[in-house]
């Protein structure tokens, strides 16, 4: 089933949670709503489920306006961040709940219910836990039971509210892969909310980035990661370094330093902000601290050489007159390159970006260095 939301607005008192949000969720896709906490993603999910009422706008389920449809008639499966399993019921009874609550005419026989529950428990690979109670399960197991329970009523849409938010890192990674696999088997239209960009990029077919009640960008994980539409998206999807500067011909002036910039998008003199990911920066030694050379001056603060690549933390020296600017940078180099440059902590270097993403400066950067 497809889902469309049209011009949804929602405010809690003075706080605007959703400001004119319109989105399409095509049938069979797994879409991630991604954004920092307070960006309105959970509110949007709850409005689609019918657990929250929008102040204005429409939710269309399969092209039909669902505004007047009660939650229980929307046929959505909802998975809560804190599982919301019925604590006084066994795992079996939890999963059977939806089927048992059906009106007498539609209700399957106890035998059918039993078969269905065991089928679902097998699907989430927890058939052996049927007689346990929720408090006897681990967090990961509880969330899988919650998913089985949501699937028991054969929902047309599956909505997951930070499903892995309360789990530890290892279990999270496992469940992510497992959710993707499950979706590939069931092909049910699914929306999941997360604030973890890695999770969203890894699991979803499409990612919707939200901030302050607005949709910032929509696209495949590849698209949003490679071609972020706004500084916020760039900053949110991974570690970034940024440079405030002014366009000057085919160069970018950052304080006294100069960065190469060939693009003709911006007028000369335009105030811009340029982004580069840690792996898009290279270092060149700069013992004298010559001003005017290509690259932004910095001093190495720490070298973290474990892992496949080395991470280098630097303090910016791009203040006026080559002074410390208080800005921090992070560069990712291969171990080989680190050895080649013979880098040491405290050394002066220049940062050279291999790729720069430049945005006009309008006050909203949302980026972190």
């Amino acid at each position: 089933m497809s889902i469309q939301v049209r011009n949804i607005r929602k405010a809690f008192g003075d706080f605007v949670a959703l400001d004119d949000v319109s989105l399409d969720f095509p049938t069979g896709e797994l879409v991630a709503l991604l954004g920092p906490s307070g960006c309105g993603k959970t509110t949007l999910l709850r409005i689609i489920a019918g657990l929250e009422q929008a102040d204005a706008g429409q939710v269309l389920l399969d092209g039909e306006d669902a505004s007047g449809t009660h939650v229980r008639e929307r046929q959505v499966g909802f998975v809560f961040q804190h599982y919301a399993l019925f604590r006084h019921m066994s795992v079996f009874d939890n999963v059977a709940f939806g089927m048992r609550m059906k009106p007498r005419g539609e209700r399957p026989s106890e035998r059918q219910i039993r078969d269905k529950v065991h089928e679902l428990l097998a699907l989430v690979q927890l058939d052996w836990l049927a007689d346990r109670f929720p408090t006897q399960l681990s967090g990961g197991q509880r969330q899988r039971i919650a998913l089985a329970r949501a699937l028991a009523v054969e929902p047309r849409v599956l909505l997951l509210d930070e499903p892995f938010g309360a789990l530890d890192a290892k279990v999270r990674k496992e469940l992510r892969r497992w959710l993707r696999k499950l979706h590939d088997e069931l092909h049910i239209t699914s929306i999941f909310v997360t604030h973890d960009q890695e999770e969203a990029l890894e699991v979803a077919d499409r990612v919707v980035l939200m901030d302050h009640g607005h949709v910032e960008q929509t696209g495949t994980p590849e698209e949003v990661y490679r071609h972020p539409a706004t500084p916020f998206v760039y900053g949110f999807l991974g570690a970034v370094n940024f440079f405030h500067g002014r366009v000057d011909g085919s160069a970018l002036r950052v304080g006294d330093d100069v960065l190469p910039h060939a693009s003709q998008e911006f007028d000369a003199g335009a105030e811009v902000i340029a982004f580069a990911r840690p792996h898009e920066l290279d270092l060149v030694p700069d013992e004298q601290g010559d001003a005017g050379e290509i690259g932004v001056g910095a001093r190495i603060a720490r070298i973290l050489a474990f892992g496949v690549t080395a991470r280098i933390e630097l303090d910016g020296l791009n203040g006026l007159g080559g002074k410390s600017s208080g800005q921090h940078f992070e560069v990712e180099l291969t171990q080989q390159r680190v050895a080649e440059l013979n880098l040491a902590e405290g050394q002066r270097v220049r940062l050279l970006p291999s790729r720069l993403k430049v945005f006009e400066r309008n006050g909203t950067t949302g980026a972190s260095a």
């Binding site: 489920a49 657990l51 939650v71 229980r72 008639e73 959505v76 499966g77 909802f78 809560f80 804190h82 919301a84 399993l85 019925f86 604590r87 006084h88 019921m89 709940f97 939806g98 609550m101 059906k102 346990r132 109670f133 408090t135 006897q136 681990s138 967090g139 919650a146 329970r149 949501a150 028991a152 009523v153």
Partner: protein
């Protein structure tokens, strides 16, 4: 995991912690501190709690079993017992329904005047029972607001059974609600939302999700409510009129007998109330025990621990 740990933190676990605390030299208090504190609390317990309780039964049986039974079997005593049971049988279910509704409204919804409602629920606790009785006399009494109208239609409330029931309802108002509000607030709305999304109706959600989650708290509140309903004196005394065989409840009957110097009979009837208190305490302890260890997880943990 965290939830399981919390649930396991029941009486047994707490006693265990105390024992461990006591066993370690580093955390142990000097013996005289322990015995002093124990001595003070035991002495207090004996003088203020145990002694009066024993005195009730001793006084009741002073003139032998025969007097005891005849005092209880007296027509006026039987009628007082009947009236007390009637008042409780009406007040407790009323407050059960009200308590659940109020706790539900306060814990699960946001609305204007919520804090005012919470404060208002506590009013019967904070106001003197005598005033509670007087309020009803002022409203329904012969000189009260509705007095003339009631007299015209020949409806008797004050100095009759309805007045006693009203006063009892008033003073026992907060017990159930007070017990449930924190419980329901702690449980939140998520399970109910999950039930709704799964297609349950409002009633099904209440019956299969909300009620099982609050049942022990509810029972606890009902027990306390019942004990107070049967034992209430002040408010009921004001509205009852003390008509023997008609508007006397057990506590009022005790007072009348005592004022007439029938001490043995007074204590015999009082012993009924004392017994009620003991039964209440026993049931209450059992409920607390069930509520604390009723969940399968903590049972399993206790099994594992023993």
């Amino acid at each position: 995991m965290a939830a399981a740990t919390t649930l396991a933190w029941t009486g047994a676990a707490r006693a265990d912690a105390a024992t461990r605390f006591e066993a370690q030299a580093a955390t142990r208090e000097a013996p005289w501190v322990k015995w002093l504190i124990l001595g003070i609390s035991l002495a207090f317990f004996a003088v203020f709690l145990l002694l009066p309780l024993v005195a009730v039964f001793v006084e009741a049986l002073r003139k032998g079993w025969e007097t005891y039974w005849s005092a209880l079997a007296h027509d006026d005593a039987l009628s007082a017992i009947g009236l007390t049971l009637t008042a409780a049988a009406i007040a407790v279910p009323l407050n059960l329904v009200f308590g659940v509704a109020a706790a539900w409204a306060i814990a699960k919804f946001e609305f204007r005047g919520k804090h005012f409602l919470i404060t208002l629920i506590d009013l019967p606790f904070s106001v003197s029972p005598v005033i509670a009785g007087l309020i009803y006399v002022l409203i329904f009494g012969a000189q009260g607001w509705l007095g003339p109208w009631l007299a015209e239609h020949d409806i008797r409330i004050i100095f009759a059974v309805p007045g006693i029931v009203l006063a009892t309802v008033f003073v026992t108002f907060p017990f159930v609600a007070r017990e449930l509000i924190p419980l329901m607030q702690a449980q939140g709305r998520e399970e109910e939302e999950a039930a709704l999304v799964l297609g349950a109706s409002g009633w099904q959600t209440f019956r299969h999700v909300t009620l099982p989650n609050i049942k022990w708290g509810l029972l606890y509140g009902v027990i306390l409510c019942n004990a107070r309903a049967m034992g209430e004196f002040g408010a009921v005394s004001v509205v009852s009129g003390h008509i023997r065989g008609q508007t006397n409840t057990l506590p009022l009957h005790v007072e009348i007998l005592y004022n007439e110097y029938q001490f043995a009979a007074a204590f015999a009837v009082a012993s009924l109330l004392a017994l009620l208190a003991l039964v209440t305490l026993t049931v209450k302890t059992w409920v607390e025990h069930r509520a604390g260890s009723g969940t399968p997880s903590s049972k399993a943990q206790q099994d594992a621990a023993s």
